[in-house]
Amino acid sequence: MIPPILKNLLRIKKFDISVSIILFITLVGIIGPFVYTVDPTALHAPPEVPPNNKYPLGTDSYGRDLLAQLLHGIRSSLYIGLTASLISLAIGVTIGAVAGFKGGITDDSLMLVTNVVYALPSIMLMMLIAAYLKERNPLFVALIIGLTSWPWVARAVRSQLMSLKSRDFLAISRMAALSDLKIMFEDLIPNMASYIFMAFVLLMSGAMIAEAGLSMIGLGVTRGVSLGIILYWAQLLESVRRGLWWWFIPPGACLVSLATSMLLLSTSLDEYFSPRLRGR
Amino acid sequence: MSTLLLEAERVKSYYHTREGTVKAVDDVSLDVENGIILGLAGESGCGKSTLMNTLMMKIRPPLYLVDGEIIVDGERISKMERKEIKKKIWGVKISLVPQSALNALMPTKRIIDFIRDVVKFHVDVSDGEIVSMARKRFEELNLPEDSLYLYPHELSGGMKQRAVIAISTLLNPKLLIVDEPTSALDVSTQKRVLKLLLDLKKFKIIDSIVFVTHDIAVLRQIADRLVIMYAGKIVESGTLEDVLSNPKHPYTAGLIHAVITPEPEIRKRGLVSIPGEPPNLINPPSGCRFHPRCLHAMPICKKVVPELVDISNGRKVSCHLVKA
């Protein structure tokens, strides 16, 4: 019933803890808004109410319900994280795979491009691009994050591929005269599945943190809520100095526990799949 | 005439792991006389590397010395503190030539600086003396003097191998333990390393060598005595001549038969002529550990562990087929 690989993974404590936290918060974000049907943008409630029975997480200075904001915020942060990481992954894996597989000039030039983008901090590139966009919906924000976060994936995939390339099965495929593309997608990529999944998990946590950073500096989504946007309003309206802890602690805590669990998940996968692997 | 340089008495060293206790060396007794080259052979996973480490008390968790005694040159090292062993025994009385000489040297230090660190820890000598010692030994091993002032990555593979041997023998240890030094080398380099080891002994820089390998063909060129290990136990030992020409244990016979095969591929893998896999050492087979793979297995083999008995003049076999 349960595939043996999952069975083995479930034996790792780190894996269990991280997956449970991720699943829990994700479910809260997906199902929560259907159960708790308060409009996160409605300004009906009395302002700055601490958590109580009626407003479980209190309200902000505009009288918005913070639990409703949090639930919708988790949902859109997850959406941005997921979309951005898929974009980065697609770019990074393609560039890394082509560079590592083709070698020669293709490799040199692709890696030069990658290293140049890598040398520029992605958060700054994001800010720069976002600053010129007047309307920023979640998809745009995800695009900006995705387009700037791929270089390390490309580098990692390439070096991983280099080590796989030296192994036997590739020579066999070569002898069978399979096309490069076929070898790449039928032999190499599946062999790297676990590695790519780890990259995906790390990209996703990185993207969610990046989203919050962009929002904080005033370059987040222009409509709707996200975890970053809640923090942005909390910062803008001086929630910290005015002691409104219920405003800035929950969104940050959600973000940190999600991101930490994702890092923990990738660590446990790393230990499971490649105990002596060193990424450089 | 031959006195004992190393005696190991009923040694048991086990790995305590989460999956269970791995009895990697189980009740092994072994002597190394002065002035001999002893070849220790067996398949990979038979416990020969663990035995090698145990002989020099290079034991760290999860490996533990459960029982037994080890005496080196009159010192009971099995009772010594690790610190004392490091200072007084390793590098001074027993030295190791590791398997992977290519990565064995500290990568970010010049070789002479590494040598200085090592020597200073053992003996109280001046920098000048250390340099002249190192120069002399490098010269003896045909290494250019300048190489002392290079970083490891600046040496060729063959030079690294020699440099490691030079460093290991710098303080003239009595016993040199050599761990599969030839397995990664091509045949001509292999030959040169073997000659080097023989020279070291000839010039009395070292006294005895324990040569650990899975490759009996190599031992044939260098060893005086053979010890064959299987699944954590010694199954047979004796002079090279005796063991090779007249193996008593079915496992030894299979091992030798495998070597005679001219195919290098098969030789590399060791034991194709013996069907089956080496046993796992957490739950070793009852009785004689070889019985599941043995063509001559008898009912008694399943039940009783055969003792290692002396059949004549230091020739020892552990098999129910052989009656003393």
Binding site: G213, L231, Q235, R241, V256, R276 | K87, K109
Partner: protein, 337 residues
Amino acid sequence: MSPVLRFLIRRIGFFALTFVVFTLVIFTLPRAIPGNPLSTLLSQLFQQAQANPELIRAVYKRLMDEFGVGKPLHEQFLLFISRTLKGDLGTSIAFYPRKVADIVFAYLPWSLGLLIPAVLTSWIIGNMLGALAGYKRTTALDNAMLPAFLTLSQTPYYWLAMIFLYIFAVNLGWLPIGGAYSSGRIPKLTLDFIVDMLRHYVLPYLSILLSSMGGWAIGMRSMVIYELGSDYVDYADSLGLSDSKILRYVFKNSMLPQVTGLALNFGSILGGSLITELVFNYPGTGFLLFRAISTLDYPLIQGVFMLLISTLLLANLIVDFVYAYIDPRIRTGYIGE
């Protein structure tokens, strides 16, 4: 040519190329993004002309000139490059008629003064703790430290900053609630002022220090574990070299990749600390950038990034010099990207 020189020349070439690429990005973005943000801004300004016609017209004219609106693209680019090379980053809109370069240079020292000590101390402390955890791996100490490192490494600087500010300044009242010095004071070199400045410095410094420390510690821990399992450690051990000496070897070899890591992560730490400045109203470039963004002051936004990236590439280059000096494998041409 010596290997070190060759390595350094290659790195300088690489950073020069990176800088050119970045300049291109800065040039292209306002002109390429659909809806042309520049013309939006200009028409906005034009509509506001009623409020203060003189001033707005002057700003408008200056912007038209500086961006070369109306000229062909290649002329715009040449204009842009020649101005940039002269150190002219244009004129700010929000602070008109001040030059962008002057404004940014007034704010930059505060950012660097916060960032550099925080990064260096977090690097040192993080590496030491990571080495300790790696050496004591699988013990209770490591088991307690690792989750803390993991969590810290995933905590946004500014969120930690908010919590620190809430606890130590708002609730406990031990430290000031923001700014770089008490309002009303004039920066001068008196003991009194320095103490005041340090009191404002503690929380932002600690936020950046702590949240960037986790990453270093995790990296160092796995480096040490890897090195401890390597062949040279085993060999040195078998030669009887003392454990403390071997540990020193391991530490040295694990530190080397961490030096490169310092260069690689400088940018993201800078990004994080910019936002941390916001939380503390700390008058650095992050604070400036936020103002520039909220007033759509494009020349200022560009200028801030231009200077930050230049600083960053320079820092990377310095790290490369240091690295070339300390790693013998570069000195002898064994490795080098």
